[in-house]
């Protein structure tokens, strides 16, 4: 069966049309980024860039989290979904690269450079920020890869000789033989470590790259809000990815309706948690009414020009999915679910813009969102697709569901 799998992959994941599509969209994205950059408001370009960078990095980080959690909680039902989830982690190196590029726009990205910070300068200064965030990304992604290294050791078929990566990995594994149990135990350990790092470092990123853009505002829950949201998005992407693989007859990947149903329930659950974490912050700030806190929230939810966008986000990413997901049948329907997820993701992408936009363009009277932002988004979609496709191309086993599991 692996042989066939190997044969099929050639055409499924990595065919010309897909290359063409992704390539084109990437070029479009790049071009529109450059156009914005060369315009009067380069910060607009960086706003879009930061938004997408955070958005897709979160998806990748959350994706791997799914696998890690399944490993730790021994959730068997999701075992066959961990493959695609891990495929998302292929975005890690790209994400890190994008992160480095981000600092080219430091003039626009960090408005606090021009503000009076007092003591805070000890935390908000470019070198310090670059150092700690770089370290953070390296640790997170490093742990991620060590975990993958263990996970794939069980998942991948050692014999197939497709590509250098495989051979390299095989050599690694064959170099020293550890007994599977200890190896599995270590895998679990690194899963735990990754989960911890996920929480800590995503919070750090949230503080440094989103919250600190308005250095006077702070909300203790913001970090947690960010990484919960990240997982919510990852689940959305995972649903789409799984559905695509599931619906493509050529791919040996199929899920029982119950598995989709469970995935749907998880998606639903995190839709609620995300909303809850939003409300927890909003309620406290609304009730306390301390200007230091309210100004930030009001600018994004109650004052023009951003207000309508806030409502859109609320409806698209919470209202609609909440009402729809109450229904049991839809959860186990891949088509509908992917559609819904796409919608939610769109909303959450807007939500990122909503958080970043007002900070980067203070006192504006028009919505800082245009066609180019959309095109840049498209570009990043292409990028992500390409990455995932190539990962699956190299490691087709990730797209194999073990029907045997569960009963």
């Amino acid at each position: 069966m692996n042989k066939t799998a190997a044969k099929i992959t050639e055409s499924v994941f990595f065919n010309r049309s897909l290359l063409r599509m992704t390539g084109v969209s990437i070029v479009i994205g790049l071009v529109s980024f450059i156009i914005l950059l060369s315009g009067k408001h380069p910060e607009r370009a960086w706003q879009a860039y930061l938004t997408n960078f955070l958005f897709w990095s979160s998806v990748a980080q959350g994706g791997l989290l799914f696998s890690a959690v399944m490993q730790v909680a021994r959730g068997r039902w999701g075992r066959s979904l961990t493959g695609p989830a891990e495929a998302l982690a292929g975005f890690f190196p790209v994400s890190f690269l994008l992160y480095l590029i981000l600092f080219l726009g430091y003039k626009q990205v960090f408005p606090w450079r021009y503000m009076e910070l007092g003591e805070k300068a000890a935390w908000l200064n470019l070198p310090g920020l670059f150092a700690r965030d770089t370290a953070g990304f390296l640790i997170l992604y490093g742990l991620g890869f060590i975990y993958l290294y263990h996970s794939w050791a069980f998942r991948l078929n050692r014999k197939t000789d497709a590509g250098k990566t495989r051979e390299y990995l095989n050599r690694l594994w064959n170099s020293r033989s550890v007994d599977p149990d200890r190896f599995r135990a270590r895998m679990t350990l690194f899963a735990v470590l990754y989960i911890i790092a996920y929480a800590v470092i995503l919070s750090l990123i949230a503080y440094d790259l989103i919250m600190a853009l308005d250095p006077h505002w702070y909300s203790a829950l913001f970090g947690a809000y960010h990484f919960v949201k990240a997982f919510y998005m990852a689940l959305g992407v995972l649903i789409i990815l799984a559905s695509i693989l599931h619906m493509n007859p050529q791919i040996p990947f199929a899920l029982r309706p119950s598995q989709f149903h469970d995935l749907g329930k998880l998606f639903f659950a995190f839709c609620l948690v995300w909303a809850d974490f939003f409300y927890c912050q909003f309620m406290v700030i609304w009730y306390g009414n301390i200007s230091e806190e309210t100004a930030y929230v009001i600018a994004r939810t109650m004052a023009s020009p951003w207000r309508p966008m806030a409502w859109l986000v609320f409806i698209v990413s919470f209202g609609i999915p909440f009402l729809i997901l109450l229904n049991r049948k839809i959860k186990s329907n891949p088509k509908w679910m992917s559609l819904l997820s796409a919608l939610v993701l769109l909303g959450l992408w807007l939500e990122h813009t909503l958080l970043i936009g007002p900070s980067l363009n203070p006192h504006v009277h028009t919505l800082q969102l245009g066609i180019f932002d959309g095109l840049i988004f498209v570009g990043f979609i292409g990028l992500m697709t390409l990455v995932v496709a190539s990962v699956l191309h190299v490691l087709p086993e990730l797209a194999e569901s073990r029907i045997s599991e569960g009963s």
């Binding site: 409300y279 909003f282 309620m283 609304w286 009730y287 009414n289 109450l326």
Partner: protein, 168 residues
């Protein structure tokens, strides 16, 4: 029906019960009831029972509760229209919590009501020909056959691994 016999077959485990039920369905005799110490998806599937509709009560309760919560808090606030902390008289942000708690409460009430109505409990008549083993380790299948077939059915059940009991 005087010319009917109701016979209970008591099985020691789920598998045999399951096969017995399957076999019974091939026979002309009807399965009146199956009792088990634990819920069994498989048996339910065999008997092709429809999924329960308790959920509708729950949902209804929830929706009613949500609006009751908001209505109550808005009504009480409007009686005197006292300003507190400069907050609006009808402040939806905090009232949402009231709405939420009421949603849960009423949903649960709906759930319980639905359960009572659907399960028709409390009802002690069923205990008349209830076998205590059914709540312990055993699965009981209650089948009905014409008086004529009584012996056949008894044998059938015995063969499929049950000890039997004639209820009426």
């Amino acid at each position: 029906m005087a010319d009917d016999r109701t016979i209970m077959g008591i099985f020691s485990d789920e598998e045999t019960t399951l096969s017995a039920v399957r076999a019974l369905k091939e026979t002309p005799w009807s399965i009146e009831n199956v009792m088990s110490p634990i819920p069994s998806r498989e048996i339910a599937d065999e008997l092709s029972t429809k999924p329960s509709r308790v959920g509708y009560f729950t949902l209804a309760g929830g929706i009613i509760g949500f609006f009751t919560g908001f209505a109550l808090s808005a009504y009480t606030a409007l009686q005197w229209q006292l300003v507190v902390s400069g907050k609006p008289i009808v402040a939806l942000v905090p009232f949402f919590i009231v709405g939420f708690e009421f949603t849960i409460l009423f949903a649960v009430f709906g759930n319980v009501v639905g359960l009572i109505l659907k399960m028709k409990l409390p009802d002690y008549r069923g205990l008349a020909d209830h076998d205590s083993r059914c709540t312990g380790a055993c699965f009981c299948v209650v089948a009905v056959c014409p008086v004529s077939d009584e012996q056949k059915l008894l044998n059938f059940l015995k063969n499929s691994g049950a000890d039997t009991r004639i209820l009426s």
